[in-house]
Amino acid sequence: MPHTVPDSQLVRRAKAGELAAFEELVSRHERQIYTRAFRILQNSHDAEDVTQQAFLSAVENLGQFREESSFATWLYRIATFAALKLIRKRKGLDTISLEAATEPQEDYASIPHPEYIADWRQSPEQLVHRHETRQLLDDALAQLDEKHRLVFVLRDVEGLSVAETAATLELSEANVKVRLLRARLQLREQLTQTLGNPARRLVHEHHHH
């Protein structure tokens, strides 16, 4: 089916009972859903489970999908919630909140300073097409603590606002912001160690203006 047929048209045909239209929607979005689930869960088996659950849930709820958002947005939201639900289940938490109430609030005082500072040798546009880049991105993400990773994935990869990220993870906005900063800085550090140009490495002298 040519990609010129918009998702919205396929959705209407699927709603009318056309399986082929639904399968085309699945084929268009399955890689994205799997990738998103993998980034949250860091495990290919769980990512497959969540991909399946998300599409099953799409079959079941298609009739209620009112098309106020795009099909992709609707579907990605379903997948994100399915992935978060699995994380909670893994931890044996029945509560909706992802963490114990005793978790200390992080603050800015403990944010580490950037260490490896250098311009990158290539632009993101060049890097995006390199096979090694995806592995590098996945490895760096895997090294984040889960609490930092979730905030980064929802905010910067999925594009939720700070408020939406906070609501989804049941965290305060202040907490989301500090975790996001930590995640961004840690990923920057990690990627720059590989992508930075050692000949142009800079030393931060902490000067005070």
Partner: protein
């Protein structure tokens, strides 16, 4: 503005939500501090890479299982017309 203060405001600056007066201070600091300038640039590129990164390939067996399960469910209970 000191480098540590800049660090705390990084998110707001990169996301374009920083107060205009603070934004000016932020940029004045960066103009005289090459390392901070590079850190901000690195952060922007880091976010861009994750946003625009290519999705993983779905393993073939996984894709086949997915489509089989969905077809079965569809045939049992197609969406209400």
């Amino acid at each position: 503005m000191k480098c540590e203060e800049l660090l705390k405001l990084l998110n707001e600056y990169v996301d374009g939500t920083v107060d205009p007066a603070i934004c000016t201070e932020f940029e004045q600091h960066m103009a005289g501090c090459n390392p901070c300038q590079v850190v901000v640039d690195n952060i922007r590129k880091t976010i861009t890479l994750y946003k625009n990164g290519q999705p993983c390939e779905l393993p073939v067996e996984c894709r086949d299982r997915l489509h089989a399960v969905l077809r079965e469910r569809w045939n049992q209970a197609p969406p209400a017309k």
